[in-house]
């Protein structure tokens, strides 16, 4: 059999060698520019701080210059077919619009600021935008998508390197507004320029065409996702770092000996004491209130308040919500009534929390003791929790397979018995998960608590609701048993989010570390609920699939 000597093309062209390397290098430079702009934003460095002998301004200008020259080189190489690339006929309208916008903005800025044209700057700007659009769309893709970007990079590079925007440049675009300086200009240009450069470099490095566009798009979307994850991480770490020290101040632990039984032992004429070890743990920030004689003030009353509010809200909302969900999925037929209920559930779910607070203020406060109270807060938070419970319970009830119900009916069990002993237990995990997530949300709500429960800003003791006391008395019925004090339910109280708000309002000049500690405690509580809810949801989902 003769060896087939016709050249074969790969089905998908992988790795175009030189071009891809150039692309990676340019991507790296562009991402460095992006990182530098973030460093400037978060004041890690300053525009004039020196890095390896040159100011950051100079380095970024150089970066832009490298990108610009690199893009020109890529365009030239591709046009001269010195590298393998698969450009299509045109860079596309999308890219054209992006470049046209950039041209519009740049020329507009130049003509209005440097040339001083007051309102006429629109004309050269539009002209420039149109020209750039044509320049991007008309020629072949490898020129049309790189040269405009190169133009922008070179322009930016020269502006910074020649000192047109130097270290003492300022600009106030909106009267009475902000004043931008060189750092800000670097940040904005670096951000957009870096993203643009990375996008173009990704396209170019993967040979243009549809593969190139995919790489470019993937890069942008991935950068976005990484940024979101980094943002979450940064927020939580920031609060944790600032709040850890105030929160853990003064923690003391130790072992102490607790006498458990003793008796008098005659022969040695001494008491013999049996002792067992006990653990002593004192954490001031979560165990104390704010009082004069305290060394360290704490947020214990706020924690107690949040605890009772959440308990009350759960007791109110969960039976009501699960009952409603059961009715909607098991008993009711699709009709006007269920549609109405669905609309109102969604309406309740999206109502702003401050409106709930106003509602509590209008309806509940006058009827429940005419002052702020924990009970009102429980009810309002219960109202907020209700739609979430209804929605998640409905979903988990719907996901219980029909076979369970059919099997139960086949055995002759009535509908209610079926629901009670088959459907509800099967749906319970989903309901519990939904409740936990909902509790995480309402534990962090401030606005309703502010309006209907808020009390003194720095309380020293928490609400004394659970107070089991048992005693023998001298009169009928000869015992007194007290489990729950009702009185504190009708008194105002603090809660964790409200405590943070109160500290901010009370002025942060002396209380800043207290505020950070409170913020960290609140964050831990809320994120703790969320973490437990998400973990339990994943656990039950895995069990269902297994």
């Amino acid at each position: 059999m003769a060896v087939d000597s016709t050249p074969t093309n790969d089905l998908v062209q992988e790795g175009t060698g030189r071009l891809q390397t150039i692309g990676y290098v340019l991507q790296a430079v562009a991402l460095l520019v992006l990182v530098a702009s973030f460093a400037l934003l978060f004041e890690v460095v300053d525009a004039q701080s020196l890095v390896a002998g040159q100011s950051v301004l100079t380095w970024m200008g150089l970066g832009f210059g490298v990108l610009g020259l690199g893009f020109v080189a890529v365009a030239g190489l591709s046009r001269a077919d010195l590298v393998e690339s698969t450009p299509i006929k045109s860079a596309g309208v999308g890219a054209g619009i992006v470049y046209a916008l950039i041209g519009f903005v740049v020329v507009g800025l130049v003509s209005s600021q440097t040339l001083g044209l007051q309102t006429l700057w629109v004309i050269p700007a539009i002209l420039a935008g149109g020209l750039v659009f044509l320049g991007a769309v008309y020629p072949r893709e490898d020129i049309g998508s790189t040269l405009p970007a190169a133009g922008f990079m070179v322009f930016a590079g020269t502006t910074f390197l020649t000192g047109t925007i130097g270290l003492d440049w300022t600009w106030q675009p909106i009267p009475n507004g902000a004043v931008f300086d060189a750092s800000m200009a670097l940040i904005v240009t670096g951000f957009f320029g870096g993203l643009l450069g990375a996008w173009t470099a990704a396209r170019a490095g993967n040979g243009f065409g549809s593969r190139g566009r995919q790489s470019g798009a993937y890069l942008l979307v991935s950068v976005n996702a990484v940024a979101m994850a980094a943002l979450l991480f940064a927020l939580v770490t920031f609060v944790a770092v600032r709040g850890w020290a105030p929160m853990t101040r003064g923690i003391k632990t130790g072992i102490f000996w607790e006498p458990v039984y003793w008796f008098y032992f005659q022969p040695i004429q001494e008491y013999v004491i049996f002792q067992i070890p006990g653990l002593w743990f004192y954490w001031p920030f979560t165990m104390e209130g704010a009082a004069l004689m305290n060394d360290i003030n704490g947020v214990a009353p706020a924690i107690i308040g949040t605890f009772w509010l959440v308990v009350g809200a759960i007791l109110f909302a969960v039976p009501l919500g699960v009952g409603a969900a059961v009715f909607l999925t098991e008993y009711a037929e699709q009709g006007r009534f269920t549609q109405l209920v669905e609309i109102s559930t969604n309406g309740l779910w999206s109502t702003p929390s401050i409106v709930y607070g106003l509602f509590g203020l209008a309806l509940l406060v006058p009827r429940l003791g005419n002052s702020n109270s924990i009970l009102t807060g429980m009810l309002v938070l219960g109202f907020m929790l209700l739609p979430l419970v209804v929605i998640t319970s409905r979903e988990s009830l719907k996901s219980v397979p029909d076979e369970y119900r059919d099997a139960s009916a086949a055995l002759g069990v009535s509908q209610w018995q079926t629901i009670k002993s088959v459907v509800l237990p099967a749906a319970m995990p989903g309901v519990i998960t939904g409740v936990i997530l909902g509790v995480g949300r309402i534990a962090g709500e401030t606005a309703p608590i502010l309006l209907v429960t808020g009390g003194s800003p720095f309380p020293s003791t928490g609400a004394d609701i659970f107070d089991p006391r048992f005693a023998f008395t001298g009169q009928f019925p000869w015992v007194s048993l007290n489990i729950v004090n009702v009185d504190p339910l009708l008194q105002p109280s603090s809660a964790l989010p409200y405590q943070l708000y109160a500290v901010i309002s009370a002025g942060l000049s002396e209380n800043l570390s207290f505020a950070w500690g409170t913020a960290l405690v609140l964050l831990l509580v809320v994120l703790g609920f969320y973490a437990i809810g998400i973990a339990s949801r994943a656990y039950f989902r895995r069990k269902l699939q297994a």
Binding site: V221, T351, L500, Y530
Partner: protein, 349 residues
């Protein structure tokens, strides 16, 4: 899904005394609570007695009626909220008339002279929501695309819970960070002349609305049927082309619903705005000055509820009505869009 009641006959089919008694007692309780709070206890006790008897004697029936009552309660609560908000805000509408939203030149807010115009607050809410959506919508949809289409499995497992936790951070913590970090930054680095600005609030609210957009859009994109995407790939399109030309158009209603929900969340955000802004009820000068310092509808209510009484309190309720109506309309719109999407794609989400 057919219900058991289609296949099994329950009871004897005649309306029962127990259900009627339950309905009457609970209605009496609610009525008493609204009108004569002191007497609420009696119908409530009666309700409990009837419920206890019914549970013991006719459990099937009682259960069904109780569930019906619970369902009706959701509608009742929404109705109560609407009614009470509107009723309490009527005095303000009576004093100001239509000017309450239409007065466009200052002064706007002077409780001593009973002058309550909500225009600066509406403008403030509008500007902050716009800025927030400019941040949340594109970044949110891009994030949703990443999670459902591009990310490898391990990244998805990490990123989805991370986005949900981002949604869980309380708004007061965002407000605190904005107050302690962003405001001084604006003041020192950008020389903004007041402590607090609309753009700071807009950025913070944008970050808050972002997870909402990501979650709902991700659900929408993930619910596009596999065969649709496979067909496109089989024709030789790249993954990205499939996304832009097949997936997103198919999930467009869902994505729009996600953005609308983000808008609703941004409009209703209270505590971040209250803490960051300075509370002067004026229009920023010039009107498009995003570095200006004014009030939003939500921060107005939160900052003034304590000092307000009489007509001023009624004006706050009026602001609440404007908020409530806006968010309700947006919520119904997004619900309609989602229903249409489910219809189009023909599957349960």
């Amino acid at each position: 899904m057919s219900t058991i009641s289609d296949r099994v006959q329950i009871g004897t089919g005649r309306p029962s005394v127990v259900s009627a008694a339950l309905a009457m007692t609970i209605a009496a309780t609610v009525l008493a609570f609204l009108v004569v709070p002191g007497l609420t206890v009696y119908p409530l006790v009666a309700f409990m007695v009837v419920a206890a008897y019914g549970w013991y004697a006719h459990q099937e029936e009682t259960a069904r009626s109780l569930m019906f009552v619970m369902t009706a309660s959701t509608v009742l609560i929404l109705a109560l909220i609407t009614v009470y908000l509107v009723v309490k805000s009527i005095p303000a509408f009576r004093i100001m008339g239509v000017d309450i939203v239409l007065k466009t030149n200052g002064p706007f807010w002077n409780p001593r002279e009973k002058l309550y115009a909500l225009f600066p607050m509406i403008w403030g809410t509008l500007i902050t929501t716009l800025i927030a959506i400019c941040i949340a919508a594109p970044l949110g949809v891009a994030g949703a695309l990443f999670i459902s289409e591009i990310a490898p499995r391990w990244a998805r497992e990490l990123l989805k819970p991370a986005v949900e936790m981002l949604a869980g951070i309380p708004s007061i913590v965002y407000g605190f960070i904005g107050f302690v970090i962003i405001n001084p930054y604006m003041m020192n680095e950008l020389s903004v002349s007041t402590f607090g600005s609309l753009i700071a609030v807009g950025i913070v609210i944008g970050v808050m609305a972002l997870p909402t957009v990501v979650s709902v859009a991700e659900d929408a994109i993930a619910s596009v049927p596999g065969p649709m995407k496979d067909g496109s790939l089989a024709l030789g399109a790249t993954n990205w082309q499939t996304m832009t030309d097949v997936t997103i158009p198919a999930a467009f209603s869902g994505v729009t619903a996600a953005v609308l929900l983000g808008v609703g969340r941004a409009i209703g955000e209270t505590m971040a705005a209250t803490v960051i802004l300075g509370h002067a009820q004026v229009l920023p000068e010039p009107l498009y000055n995003v570095f200006g310092n004014t009030e939003t509808l939500t921060s107005l209510i939160a900052s003034q509820y304590g000092i307000a009484s009489g007509s001023q309190l009624s004006a706050l309720f009026a602001a609440g009505v404007v908020l409530f109506v806006t968010v309700l309309v947006i919520s119904i719109a997004s619900q309609r869009i989602e229903a249409r999407m489910k219809q189009k794609l023909g599957g349960e989400v």
